[in-house]
């Protein structure tokens, strides 16, 4: 089509040949210019294709993951914790579903978010900045995580929030579970409490599959049996859009929540409450007591029937109490969080005499049938050792000595133990389980007590001031024989020691957990049967003599606790021992350890009442009430025994 015709008529006039100009224009080279234009376009399109190749083919996998991360959300559904029941299935702790008021920090930005938080704060009767401060504080430790503004909301609050959804962006009500305590504060120290994962253990829990904001057992049974009680949260994977709303295909994968299993304790709530009430009454009634504790166990199995410490606390405070209430619990001088039944160390006092007696017979320090002069006081090593009230008991055997709780009888035994080779008192103390934790199934809080020996003396004496005290001296043995000096025991240790006498010579491991059961009550795991037991190694003869002594101490004419237990019918016959622990800082601590029925012991109770005075007056009535609650006699029957002269 190209034309070679002369200049067409429609050329601009300037193109016509004219006189030469001063400046000669270089003729434009349109072909070159157009070619370079084409090259530029090709180059740029090539760059686009290269970039596309880089994004889609080389980097495609990465971007696919990020697209998936965009559209997939994991929705966590909390699972309820398992319940905790008593031995008969009566619930002690249950999980209740509640609605928490939750804030999503990422959606609470700007003035709109601040306004929502301020309105909520005011509506709920808080200062205007209350919730904003909460969100800010949480953001510092756990950014991007939802913040619980208010737990266990009331129906009124739920209605308030539901009606104002549009004005409260990022605020929602989310289902959660809280712990309920049907029996109130009963067995608080046993049950323990739950709480958020402590920051210092976040990693440890994380490795066990916990989410950062889960509630875990922090003390007592809640902590000890966490692995069974724990509910495993359900996870749902859903597809969302850019606004975070679930779209189209909805749930993509689902792991349903798995509720925790039920923990059945060996506790009998009836005995537990009787023991707690008796301890409380005793402490309040004494006017001087600062606290008390008691343990009831099945002496045959070691199953703990009741375990109580006074003063107690409300485990709900850790869940819904204000920080001030929690702080008050933690700092109270009465130490309500201390479980005195397992963590309180007291001089064993006269309850130790059963151990001294056993040691004496078994190691030949005392020949069965031997009569020992037991006056009001004795002088040994130029030191005068007084008996209790300086009562002269005359010439008595070991059973009578236990009955009347003669100190001078046991001073003599203590002196004999000093003069033989070896350490019969220490050895037998340890055989009975003293000087170390009993192995109760509780995560922490159990004290070891103290069985004093030469090593202890050397460890604690002051060589510069009192070098002679760095050796084991006769007075140490003499004092130890009546459970004084440096002997320290916990109520649970005394319960285990006496259980070995009651059950005919087996040292049991006390156990709070009985079984893990499923929703239908089927036993999934037996927590009790496999617990360790070991023979005490006591002879029949020793056992008979000691038990006779314990029976007479509770029932005999001169028995220290006969006024308390002497009136009980034969089938509930109690055997036991009083103790009155010298307290250098005030009124004596009162002890009683006893079990019943004597012929076939079903329950053994050890009680200590701080500053309670004499064991017979203060601790023994508590034991009587607890035993009565279990074997079935009225508390009124306690204290109907004949008065001892």
């Amino acid at each position: 089509m190209s034309t070679t015709s002369p200049i067409p008529p429609d050329l601009p006039s300037g193109d016509e040949p004219g006189p030469p100009r001063r400046r000669i224009r270089r003729p434009p080279r349109p072909v070159l210019r157009m070619a370079s234009f084409t090259m530029a376009v090709l180059l740029l399109l090539g760059v686009l294709v290269a970039r596309l190749w880089f994004l889609q083919v080389i980097g495609g996998g990465d971007y696919q993951e990020r697209a998936e991360a965009n559209r997939l959300r994991t929705v966590i559904t909390e699972a309820p914790r398992g319940a905790i029941t008593d031995r008969n299935g009566a619930p002690l702790v249950t999980s209740r579903e509640v609605l928490n008021l939750v804030a999503e920090p990422s959606q609470l930005t700007g003035t709109k978010g601040a306004g929502a938080l301020r309105r909520l704060s005011v509506a709920l009767g808080h200062p205007p900045g209350y919730f904003a401060a909460k969100v800010k504080k949480s953001g510092e430790s756990r950014p991007f995580e939802a913040v619980v503004l208010e737990e266990d909301t009331t129906p009124e609050l739920q209605a308030y929030v539901e009606e104002r959804r549009a004005q409260l962006p990022g605020i929602s009500l989310e289902a959660a579970y809280v712990r309920d305590y049907p029996e109130g504060t009963a067995a608080a120290h046993v049950l323990g409490y739950t709480g958020p994962i402590p920051a210092e253990k976040a990693e440890e829990y994380g490795s066990r599959g916990y989410l950062g904001n889960e509630t875990v057992g922090r003390a007592g049974m809640e902590a000890e049996y966490e692995e069974y009680l724990r509910g495993i949260a359900g996870r749902e994977q859903v597809e969302v859009d850019a606004r975070g709303e679930v779209v189209g295909r909805g749930i993509l994968s689902q792991t349903p929540p798995r509720p925790g299993q039920t923990l059945r304790l060996s506790i009998d709530v009836k005995v537990q409450k009787a023991l707690e009430a008796a301890l409380r009454d005793e402490v309040r009634g004494s006017g001087t007591s600062t606290g008390a504790a008691g343990v009831a166990i099945d002496p045959t199995t070691g199953a703990v029937l009741a375990l109580a410490s006074y003063p107690t606390y409300d485990p709900d405070v850790f869940q819904s109490g204000s920080p001030r209430e929690v702080r008050r619990l933690l700092t109270s001088p009465a130490r309500p969080l201390l479980d005195r039944a397992i963590g309180g160390e007291y001089p064993a006092a006269s309850t130790f005499k059963a151990i001294t007696a056993t040691a004496a017979i078994e190691s030949g320090l005392y020949k069965p049938g031997e009569i020992i002069e037991s006056p009001g006081s004795v002088v040994l090593y130029k030191t005068r050792f007084k008996g209790f009230n300086e009562t002269d008991h005359g010439k008595i055997g070991v059973s009578e000595a236990l009955e009347v709780s003669s100190d001078t009888f046991f001073y003599e035994i203590g002196d004999r133990s000093y003069r033989v080779r070896g350490w019969p008192l220490q050895d037998w103390s340890r055989k009975f389980g003293l000087g170390r934790p009993t192995g109760l199934d509780t995560v922490e809080g159990e004290s070891a007590g103290l069985v004093p020996d030469l090593a202890y003396k050397r460890r604690t004496c002051d060589r510069a001031v009192d070098p002679i005290n760095c050796s084991w001296r006769p007075g140490d043995s003499i004092n130890m024989s009546i459970g004084q000096g440096n002997v320290l025991v916990t109520p649970i240790q005394m319960a285990v020691a006496y259980a070995a006498i009651a059950n005919g010579g087996t040292v049991v491991t006390p156990t709070l957990g009985r079984a893990v059961v499923d929703a239908d009550g089927r036993v999934l795991r037996d927590l009790l049967s496999a617990r360790a037991k070991r023979p005490l190694g006591i002879s029949e003869q020793s056992l008979r003599l000691v038990r006779t002594g314990l029976r007479r101490a509770a029932n005999g004419n001169g028995g220290t606790a006969t006024p308390v237990f002497g009136g009980l019918p034969e089938q509930f016959r109690v055997e036991g021992k009083t103790g009155t622990a010298e307290n250098p800082s005030g009124i004596d601590h009162a002890w009683y350890v006893g079990y019943a029925p004597a012929d076939d012991p079903k329950i053994l109770v050890a009680v200590v009442v701080e500053r309670g005075g004499q064991g017979a007056n203060s601790a023994a009535p508590v034991v009587c009430r607890a035993i009565g609650a279990y074997v079935g006699f009225s508390a009124d029957t306690c204290g109907t025994g004949a008065k001892v002269n």
């Binding site: 089509m1 070679t4 067409p8 601009p12 376009v41 970039r51 994004l55 889609q56 083919v57």
Partner: protein, 392 residues
């Protein structure tokens, strides 16, 4: 003046239609219609869930825009550029007036306005202005290239272009004003203006950009609005940019990258469907294509654009008159620039300037404009093919 079949009057309507389309560059028309049709389809699948009460809202409108554009295209086939060149200053004045009205209305309203509301219609004069400015500049160059000193001509043309481009920039519509600049450069380049002009202009532009984006803001003088600066600099490092623009670019890259080699299909393109990708029917429609149809689909689309631009270049080379060559150069530059800048911003190698993708992005004014431009090019092509390029 030579006559050619397309301009023979009379005859039946059928004959007129036949003669109207006879001798057209079917490659250009075909590829432009193919891309437009694909664009309508992508608008449909990308916006399916955007307006729940009317899933076809954007689709039906884009279909209408495309049909209007095609009608305009066929009218344009009859447009005599030589005759129109007599009204060049009238056209220029109308363009200034139209974009000026938008600027005035826009400043009285809040924020930016790019439209004139005419009842239900919203016209964006700056779009059609791209074709007009290409024509105006081509006429000016052709009339003066032999008579005017080359430096003065370059400055004169740049000044003529700068008035509407400046108004559009103030609307503010940075992207469209850049298209005006691209058209101007292409016309001057193809007209054979000395290379030194382009070097000088390039140096000035680089200096100005550095001043506006980095130096003046550091001195406390803000020429651009902050969002404009964000958009212009986001592509350098979108990950570090927490602004809306950085988010857009990041989501665009995720959409494109996740499409992989073969795409996720229209129903699996979650970046688009679940709204993570903003503006997925307008500025970021290329990312939708890349997510749904992968490297294969996106590459094919680029290939179609290559066909469009290749035919435009051929038409430019074969143009019968210098005026037509320069108009073709301006319109080709417009299309090529828009394709490159839009896809470039989708894939993260160009700043986000709000330039729609020709024949693909949803929107009435630019759909109309691009099809009109194709019409102009088709006519130039037909004349060039039938009359041949004129030698000097």
């Amino acid at each position: 003046m030579a006559t050619f079949p397309g301009e023979i009057g009379g005859g039946s309507a059928r004959a007129r239609t036949q003669s109207a389309v006879a001798g057209l560059d079917w490659w250009l028309l075909g590829s432009a219609i193919a891309v437009s049709g694909f664009g309508v389809y992508v608008v449909r699948v990308a916006t399916d869930g955007d307006i729940p009460s009317d899933p076809g809202y954007f689709f039906t409108r884009q279909v209408a825009y495309t049909l209007i554009g095609l009608v305009a295209l066929f009218f344009t086939l009859r447009l005599d550029l030589e005759r129109l060149s007599r009204y060049v200053w009238t056209l220029y004045a109308m363009l200034i007036a139209a974009v000026g009205i938008v600027l005035v209305l826009g400043s009285s309203a809040r924020g930016s306005t790019r439209w004139i509301e005419l009842g239900p219609l919203r016209l964006q004069p700056s779009e059609l202005g791209k074709v007009i400015i290409a024509f105006v500049l081509a006429v000016i160059v052709v009339e003066r290239i032999r008579s005017m000193d080359s430096a003065r001509l370059s400055l004169f043309v740049a000044g003529i272009a700068a008035v509407p481009a400046g108004i559009v920039f103030l609307q503010p519509d940075l992207g469209t004003s850049l298209v005006y600049a691209a058209i101007t450069v292409a016309i001057l380049w193809v007209a054979g203006q000395p290379i030194t002009h382009f070097i000088v202009a390039g140096t000035v532009v680089v200096t100005l950009v550095a001043l506006v984006l980095y130096i003046l803001p550091a001195a406390g003088v803000n020429v651009l609005k902050p969002y404009q600066v964000d958009r212009l600099t986001a592509f350098v490092d979108s990950g570090a940019d927490r602004s809306e623009t950085g988010y857009q670019l990041e989501q665009s890259k995720v959409a494109i990258g996740s499409g992989g080699a073969f795409g996720k299909g229209p129903s699996g393109a979650t970046q688009t469907i679940n709204d993570f990708l903003p503006e997925h029917h307008t500025d970021f429609i290329f990312a939708v294509v890349a997510e749904m149809f992968g490297f294969l689909g996106a590459g094919l689309l680029i290939a179609l654009y290559f066909v469009v631009i290749w035919r435009c270049l051929v038409i430019m080379r074969q143009a019968h008159t210098e005026l037509e060559r320069l108009v073709a150069a301006g319109l080709t530059a417009m299309l090529a620039f828009e394709v490159f800048v839009n896809i470039g911003m989708n894939v993260g190698i160009m700043p986000i300037t709000g330039i729609p993708l020709p024949f693909m992005s949803y929107g009435g004014s630019h759909t109309l404009t691009n099809l009109v431009a194709v019409g102009v090019l088709l006519r130039i092509g037909r004349r060039g093919r039938e009359l041949g390029p004129r030698t000097r």
